[in-house]
Symmetry: C2
Subunit: 328 residues, 2 copies
């Protein structure tokens, strides 16, 4: 049995590709964690089943029961109505429309549940326990299946009128660009996310471009952002060009953020950020070329320190805050 001073929070990060669950102590330490594929394509009821199964499993594996859990904090990709615990829409969980996830989990588990946006949670995690510790004005961008954002202003999460501010991935940077899953056109997400990187690489291979990528997968559709990253590290030109293209758009998105927020730090998290400098170096160059000098000279553009754990840690910390004052 896990030894803890007080009851742990069960924090869950529901992304377009994977569900991560963790037991987190009051101070933000992860006690144990688990991960499952989301299988968003199988529909929201299946995803909810996977979440509740995951909850039961992590509790059992830790030799605990639900009574030992302080509450559940879910960080999910999408437009979240935190006040009412509803996922109103989620570009990467296609059939999630006004799903009252909080009530569903409360009813089935009998625990307190808090629901928030995943990138907001990650921003808060980095601010309290990661690379953004003590940085009062920072912007967090998660580049993964989609692109999300979280804004910390004066040391507090800025969530706006309905609690859904920070949708930086759905900032248009190409007015007449390709249609995004959110319905809008030319969003940062459709141009620079992991999905965009995979799509572009697949297009290049289908066009007949010679690349290592073809050797790394059985069929072109299997190419992911991770495959592109592996090929680029081996010096593959097509893969490098694909990453540079995403970095170009990410750089434009960040230049916008620099001009709009004049932040002290931009933190890049999410699975695609694991490419590190290969993505960040060309993106920083674009920021320097495009944003005003004064705010550019003040901003650090860095990788997340907590990596996959930032959302989990932030969600747990926000649950605690929310218990006290409803987490804004």
């Amino acid at each position: 049995m896990v030894k803890l001073k007080s009851k742990p929070i069960l924090a869950i990060d529901v992304g377009g590709t994977k569900i991560r669950l963790a037991l987190v102590s009051d101070d933000g330490t992860i006690v144990s964690s688990k991960q499952y594929p989301t299988h968003a394509d199988k529909g929201y009821q299946e995803v909810i089943k996977r979440i509740t199964n995951g909850i039961e499993q992590i509790v059992i594996d830790s030799k605990l029961s639900l009574h030992d859990i302080r509450g559940i904090s879910v960080a999910a990709a999408g437009i979240i109505d935190s006040r009412n615990g509803i996922i109103t829409t989620s570009p990467n969980l296609p059939d999630w429309k006004d799903i009252p996830l909080k009530d569903i989990l409360v009813d089935s588990l009998g625990l307190d549940v808090y629901l928030m946006n995943d990138a907001n949670a990650a921003a808060l995690g980095e601010y309290h326990a990661g690379v953004g510790k003590g940085i009062k004005n920072l912007v967090y961008i998660t580049v993964s299946t989609g692109i999300g954002g979280g804004i910390v202003i004066d040391g507090e999460l800025y969530t706006g009128t309905d609690g859904c501010a920070g949708e930086l991935g759905h900032m248009v940077i190409e007015a007449d660009g390709p249609q995004c899953k959110c319905g809008n056109y030319g969003c940062l997400e459709i141009l620079a996310s992991g999905t965009a990187i995979a799509r572009e690489a697949q297009k290049r291979i289908n066009q007949g471009d010679k690349s290592l990528l073809s050797n790394l997968v059985k069929s072109c559709e299997e190419i992911t952002a991770r495959t592109v990253s592996i090929a680029a590290k081996k010096g593959d030109l097509v893969a490098i060009e694909v990453i540079n293209k995403a970095a170009y758009y990410l750089g434009i998105g960040m230049a916008n953020i620099v001009n709009i927020f004049n932040p002290e730090m931009i933190i890049i998290g999410g699975s695609v950020s694991k490419m590190g400098e290969m993505l960040l170096k060309p993106a920083r160059k674009v920021v320097k070329q495009r944003a005003f000098n004064l705010p550019t000279s003040s901003v650090s553009i860095v990788r997340s320190h907590l990596s996959d754990d930032s959302g989990i840690i932030g969600a747990a910390l926000c649950f605690i805050e929310n218990e006290a004052e409803n987490c804004r």
Copy 2:
């Protein structure tokens, strides 16, 4: 002589096209005002001369002396380093590069001087005395020669790390669009400002499009956003199309703001906003099509109430705040 309970503040709004000066009392009431063309093309020294001449003139006309003035608050278009009182750069005042305007005015007038961004001043003016009164989270956009922005969060102006946040006009919405005066490409300003409207209308006439616009001016170069507005009101199709195009881009910029800030209100000010619903109606439609439903349903998109005075009033109020605590 003007009768006032206490010394008035001399507030000055320096835009790309005109300089407005006003004596403002503590409570934000404009006692008297004057306006001059900026003549930015004649160079910054000439503009500064016009500012100081304007100051002398308004003081003389009000039968006051400089000793009767509490201080000077300048709201200028550009990237302002408020802490040091420097205009670092200004897309619509082309040769203004690191001009220490505060020190120049202090030296020549011997009064306290505060320097801030014009759209920030206007946002604050609308929040304290205009249509945004009591709206804790609002975004102000000025559409004029250029496009500027001011962000009010939790009832306070958000100015970022260096005091230059809110450059909403220099948010890229067309990655490979035309080059903006700021050096960046596809900025909202180059696509939807008054200058953009005039340029587009001139292009249409030069292409040989038949339009009332040709009757309203002696030569095509004389067409301004105002001319376009007049022609559109008379039902001129070319003028209406030109305004719709600007509204399309303004709508995309506002959709971005809705997705990023989830604000309660977006206030549109600046000379071009005087077109009213002709510009705002199609722009609102674009927001509805492009931004997420939840934040779209919460936001009011309205015209400035203080019109040309919002910057002046905001600058004066910020001077008072700054006297007390350095206006952030």
